[in-house]
Symmetry: D2
Subunit: 381 residues, 4 copies
Amino acid sequence: MSSCFGSALRVQIFGQSHSPAVGCVVEGLPAGEPIDLDDLQRFLDRRAPGRNAWSTPRKEADRPRIVGGLNERGETCGTPFAALIENTNTRSRDYDELRRVPRPGHADFAAWAKWHGCQDVSGGGHFSARLTAPLCVAGGVALQLLARRGVSVAAHVLQVADVRDEAFDARAVDLRARRHLEEQFARLRAGWPTGRFPTIQEDAGARMAEAIDETRRDRDSLGGIVECVAVGLPAGIGGPRYDGIQGAIARIVFGIPAVKGLEFGVGFSVASLRGSQNNDPYEVRDGTPRPVTNNAGGTLGGISTGAPILFSMAVKPTPSIARPQRSVDLVTMQETTLEVRGRHDPCVAARAVPIAEAAMALALLDSWLSFPPAEDRWSQL
Amino acid sequence: MSSCFGSALRVQIFGQSHSPAVGCVVEGLPAGEPIDLDDLQRFLDRRAPGRNAWSTPRKEADRPRIVGGLNERGETCGTPFAALIENTNTRSRDYDELRRVPRPGHADFAAWAKWHGCQDVSGGGHFSARLTAPLCVAGGVALQLLARRGVSVAAHVLQVADVRDEAFDARAVDLRARRHLEEQFARLRAGWPTGRFPTIQEDAGARMAEAIDETRRDRDSLGGIVECVAVGLPAGIGGPRYDGIQGAIARIVFGIPAVKGLEFGVGFSVASLRGSQNNDPYEVRDGTPRPVTNNAGGTLGGISTGAPILFSMAVKPTPSIARPQRSVDLVTMQETTLEVRGRHDPCVAARAVPIAEAAMALALLDSWLSFPPAEDRWSQL
Amino acid sequence: MSSCFGSALRVQIFGQSHSPAVGCVVEGLPAGEPIDLDDLQRFLDRRAPGRNAWSTPRKEADRPRIVGGLNERGETCGTPFAALIENTNTRSRDYDELRRVPRPGHADFAAWAKWHGCQDVSGGGHFSARLTAPLCVAGGVALQLLARRGVSVAAHVLQVADVRDEAFDARAVDLRARRHLEEQFARLRAGWPTGRFPTIQEDAGARMAEAIDETRRDRDSLGGIVECVAVGLPAGIGGPRYDGIQGAIARIVFGIPAVKGLEFGVGFSVASLRGSQNNDPYEVRDGTPRPVTNNAGGTLGGISTGAPILFSMAVKPTPSIARPQRSVDLVTMQETTLEVRGRHDPCVAARAVPIAEAAMALALLDSWLSFPPAEDRWSQL
Amino acid sequence: MSSCFGSALRVQIFGQSHSPAVGCVVEGLPAGEPIDLDDLQRFLDRRAPGRNAWSTPRKEADRPRIVGGLNERGETCGTPFAALIENTNTRSRDYDELRRVPRPGHADFAAWAKWHGCQDVSGGGHFSARLTAPLCVAGGVALQLLARRGVSVAAHVLQVADVRDEAFDARAVDLRARRHLEEQFARLRAGWPTGRFPTIQEDAGARMAEAIDETRRDRDSLGGIVECVAVGLPAGIGGPRYDGIQGAIARIVFGIPAVKGLEFGVGFSVASLRGSQNNDPYEVRDGTPRPVTNNAGGTLGGISTGAPILFSMAVKPTPSIARPQRSVDLVTMQETTLEVRGRHDPCVAARAVPIAEAAMALALLDSWLSFPPAEDRWSQL
C-alpha cells in the first residue's frame, strides 16, 4: 500500500490536489491524549502557501476539520483519528495542457504509464505537494504527543543554491552543547510568527530568499537541503534492520515530493572517514552510558542511542517552471514544447521544513509506541 | 515488524551471527519460476568473507539449504520460499568482553538499552553483517526473476577514502549510452570470478584495496560509497508516496548495517541546481516518451520513468577496530578502554556491492509484482 | 491495526456514531473503473435505518461524499478512494447515563477497560453499527468491480427466532441448479425497492417481521442468521492458510458488530458427516474440472474451487433493550439497574444483509486483486 | 500474505509436507522470556501423529530445532524466533497418482488452478496438516508467555459423529464455577501423558475413539467439533472491529486445514435468543465490574470482558479416504475414479485439540502485546 505507512502508528493519506478534499487517518494513537487545535493550526500555518515572496501565490487556509478520533473532551479516544482539509482554491483549467503533455521532472508521465491514462492530472493529483498538508496534520498531532514525552523536534533550511545556514549542533554531549542547540531552536522559533525564512542565521535566510526571488524572476526554480533534529529521545527506541529509526524516517521522507537524498549524522562524509574518527565513544553521564560525539545521528543498528536524531534531506528544484521545455504530446506522440502555467513555488525548501518535522515526529512516535520505554527512562538528556 | 519488509513480495530475515543458523523466508514469489542454484551460489560467493586481503579472515561457505518453496522440478511452487545458512565458524569467546563493554559505533549499547540486557551480543547478534547473507539469498532469487523479465542490476564501489571509480553512465538515452553502460557492466563482471576489487576501472579498485590494506595495518577501518543501477525496468512500476520505488529501496538499504546515506540520481547535488538544469526533458523513442537525461535516477513520484534506476549509498567505516577506544562497562557503569578483538573487515564497501544489488532487486521485484506491467511493455529500453 | 483490513485491497474505517462524520479509505482499487454513484446509493439504502417497522426510527440519509480517488470522468484514478458520511441525526443526551453504566451485551465496559475511560461512549462510539455504513460504501464499490468481472453476490435472512427462510441453492452444479439460484436472486431483488423483509420466501419474511415486531413491543430484541453467496468466481482465487478466502471473509465478518458465528458450506454439520458424504467429487464441465456438489462452500485450502462461495453468519439480539438490566456504575462501583433509552433496532438481521454482501465483496475483490486470474478464466460460472 | 498472520506478534509458517523441512519465524516476542524446551516438546507430542489407534500411522518426531531468537541463557533475545522441523518420514510415491487426479475435498484442484500446475502436490504440499506442527511450535511458545501472565488455555473434542463430551463451564462467574472449570482442566490434563482421547469425560472419549475406529475400518472418515477456552485474560485486551479478539482468532482458526465453522460463546444459538436472555449482566466482584454470565464468550466489540474466552470450531472429515471417489484426470481432462492410498487420520479432531490451543494462544498474545495491560490488572479473575 503506497499512501500509508507505519506499524504501531499507521498513517493513511488520501485525496488529490483538486479533489473535493485531502485528509489523513491515523490509527494507533494512545487514548486520553488532549489535542491542542490552536497549536496544531500554528504548525500547519508554517507549511501553508501564499504567505510570502518565495512561495506559490495559491492561498489555502489549510484548516483541518477533525471528523473522528476525539472524545467529548477533545482527547484521543483510542480509535482512528481522521481529519479533512477542503480543497477550495483550485484552478483546474491551468492544467488542461498538462493532461496531454507531461511536465519534465514531475510525476505526470510516470503516473500516465502506471495507470494507462486514468490518473488524476489536475494540480498534480495525488502527487501534489498539497498532500503534505494532511501529512502535517498527522505530524502535528505526533509532535504534541512527543513533546509530552520530552522529545522536541526542529528543522531548518541548511542550504539553497550556494548559501548555507549554520548546522544544528547535535553533539548534545555536555550542557554547553545542549544549550547551544536550544539557542538555535529559539532563533528558529523567533522567525515562525513573522514568516521569516526558516534558517538559524537570519542573514543566511535573507540571502536564500534573495536567491530564490532572483530565480523566480528568471522563470526558474531552486533546490535545497533541509536539516532536522529531535532531542530527548531515550536510548533503546526503534528496532533492528528494516524498520528501525533510519528506515522509518526514510520511508516517510522519500514519500515527500521532491526528495532525492537522505543522510543521518555525518552522512555521505563517512566515505572518507576512518573508524577511529567516525565512531562515537561512550562516557558515563547521569549514571548511564552516553555517546561523547554524535557522528551517527543518534541511531545505531536502527535503535536510538540517546543522542539527538539528526537527518538531512535534499529537495530538488520545483519541476514546474515557466520556461519552455521539451516534452511529448501523449495523444499524438509528437515531441512538443511546454511552458508550465499555474502557481508554483520557485523553491520548496522553506515549506519542507515543517514537513521534515512531521516526518521525524511520525517516525519517532511510531517507533516509541512499538516499544514504549519505561517511565524512568524518559528523563534522559 | 523490524526484520521483514515488502508488500506483494515479503521477506523475513532471521538468526544471529552465532545462533545455529541464519535464514530467510520469502513469500509472494510467482509460481513456476525455475531457480538456478549454481547461479545463486555464484552471487552469494561475491558477498562471502575470507576471500581476499581486504575482508575479514572469518571463512564461511554461505551455502544456503533451501527447505521450502520449490516443487520437484526446482521451480517456485507459490508458497513461501525458505532458506537456511548454518553458522559454522563462530568464535564466541572473542566476544566475552563485549558483553559488558559496548563497541563505539556498533549497535551493542543501543540493543542493550532496548532489550534491557537480554540481547544476543555474540558476534553482533542479529545486527551482524552476517545477516546480509540471507538477504542476498532472497536478493539472488529476485535477480533471477528480474533477469527473466529483462531487468539487469549491477553495483560497484564508487568511492573509498579519496579514491573514486568511474560512475555508471545511467543516462541510457540513446544507443551509445546504453552500449557504454553495458561495457561498464562487462568490466565489472570480468572481475567477479577473480575476486578483483569491484570497481569499473581496475586501477581505481587497486588503489582502493591499497588504501584499505594500509588502514588495516594501522588497526583502523574505512568507509565508502556503493553505486547501484538497474536497467530494463519499464515505465509505470512503483506507486505514489511512501511505498514507491525510492521508499521501497530506502527501507531495505537503511536496514543494511553501516549505511548512513542514500541518494537517487544526482542526489544531494539537486540543492545547487536550477529546475531548468535538473528536469529531464522527454523525447519520443520507439514510439513512447523517454526521458532524454536521467538526473532523477529513473523514478519520479515513486514510479519508474523507463530510465535506469540509480542510487548511491554511503557505508561507514567498520566500527570494530583494534585501536583503544573509550567506552563504558555496563555492569560497573565505569568508563573503560576497549580494544576490539575478533576478525573484522577493515572496509565493508566491497562486500556491500552484492548487498546493494540484492536490495535493488528485492525492491524492484516487489514493486513489479504489486503492479505487473502488460506483456507488451516489457520490451522497453 | 484494528479498524482496517485487506492486503492488495486495503480498507480503513473511521469515525464514531456521534463524531462529525464516519468514512472509509480504500487503497488498491484498479484505475479506470467507473463508479456508478446511483447504484452505490441504492445499495446503501438497503442498510439505512428508519425505513420500516423492524428497524430503529433514527433516520439518516447515508449519503456518501466522495472526497478522493476519482478522476474527472468519475473513474477510479489509482490512488486512495475516500468517502465521508456526515452524522446529522445524533442525540447524545440519550447516552448520558451510559457514560457511567455499561450496557450488558455491548462493548461499553470492554472499551472502558481498554482505554481507561477515554473511549467515546456516545451512540456506541466507534463500536456503533453506524460504522457499517462506510463499510458498505467500500463494499458497494467492490460489488461493482466484481459484477464487471462476472461475480454476483446476494444475501438474505436465513433465520430469526424459529422462523427459517429457504436456503440458497449453491450447488450450482448444472444449469438447473444455476437457474434455481438465479430465481432465488430475482425474488430477493424484487423486495429491494419496496423495503420488504429480505428473505427469498416472502411469507417467511412476513413471519420474521411479525416476530420482531412482537419482541419490540415486549421491549426486547431478537438474533438471527444471514446467509450470503457469491457466484461466478473462477477457481484458483485466494491463498493457502491464514489469508485465504475463508480467512479474508472471517476477518471482516467478525468485525461486524453482533456477529458471534461463521460457517462455510455445510459448516458445523461436518461434525456428524463422513468423508464419503462430505467430499465434493469432480466432474468435467466446459472442459474443466468442477465440483459436483458444494458442501465446501466453494473454497478448499483457502482457494476457490469455481463453485459458489457460501457462508452463514449468526448475529446476536441487539443488546440495547428497554428492559431493566443489572449493571454497574463505573464511578461509584456500585451495582445498579439500567434501562436503555434511545432508538435501537429490535433485530439487526435485516440490515445485516447488505453488510454481509459488502464483507463478501471486499474479501473476494481483495483475493482477486492479490492473484488476478487470466482473462480467459473469467467466463467460468 | 497468506502464510503469515499477526500484528504486534507476527508468525510466518513455511515448508511443505515433503520438502526438506517445515518451520516458523515469530517476530515480536518480548525479550528476556525463558523458553522451556521440554515443556514445548510435551505440547508438540500431543499433536504428533502415529501414537494411537485413531491417527495416521506416519510417525514423525516433531522435534523442533531452534535456529534463532534465543540468547545464551535460552531466553528470547528480542529478534525473530525461528524453528525448523525436519521432514524425515516422507513417502512421495504414495502421491504419484495425485499429481494428475485431485482428491475430492482436498486443496489439490484449487491449488492446481491457482498455480497452473506448479504447486507442490506431494503429501498435500503446503496445505498438509503437517504445517500445523510449526504453528504449534509458535503456539507452544505463546502458551508459556501467557501462563507467565496468568492466562491458561485448554481445549477438548466436544463432538465426533453423534457423541458429545461435556462442554467447558466458562461462566467463570463465581468461585464455584471457576473451581468446576479447573476440575475439567485437570481431567483433560490427566489424559495427556497416556494419549487418552482428549475429552473431559473419559467415556465420551472412548465412544468417540470407537466411532472413529469403526469408520476407519469402513475406509471412511469423520468430522468433529473442538472447543477451546482461555482463563485469566484481563478485561480490555483486543481492539475494535477487524482485528479484535474474535477476528484475530478467526484468521488463524480458518487457516487450520479442515475447519469450516467457528463460533464464540453461545455462537449460532444467538439466532433464537432474545436480548434479555443473551445479554450478560454485570456485577461488582473484587472491586471491578464482571459479567455474571458468559454468553458472549469473553469478548464484546473485539475486546475482552474479563470472562473466559470461549470458541468452538468445526473440523470436517479427512478428505483422503480409501473409498473410490469420482474425480478428473488433469492431464487428459477425463473423468476417472480415485482411491486414495497413503497414511491418513480417519478423524483429525483429536490432533486438532493442541492446534486450537496454539491458535488461541497466538491470537491472545498478539492482542496482549498490541495493548499491554498495566501490571496491577494482571490479577483479575
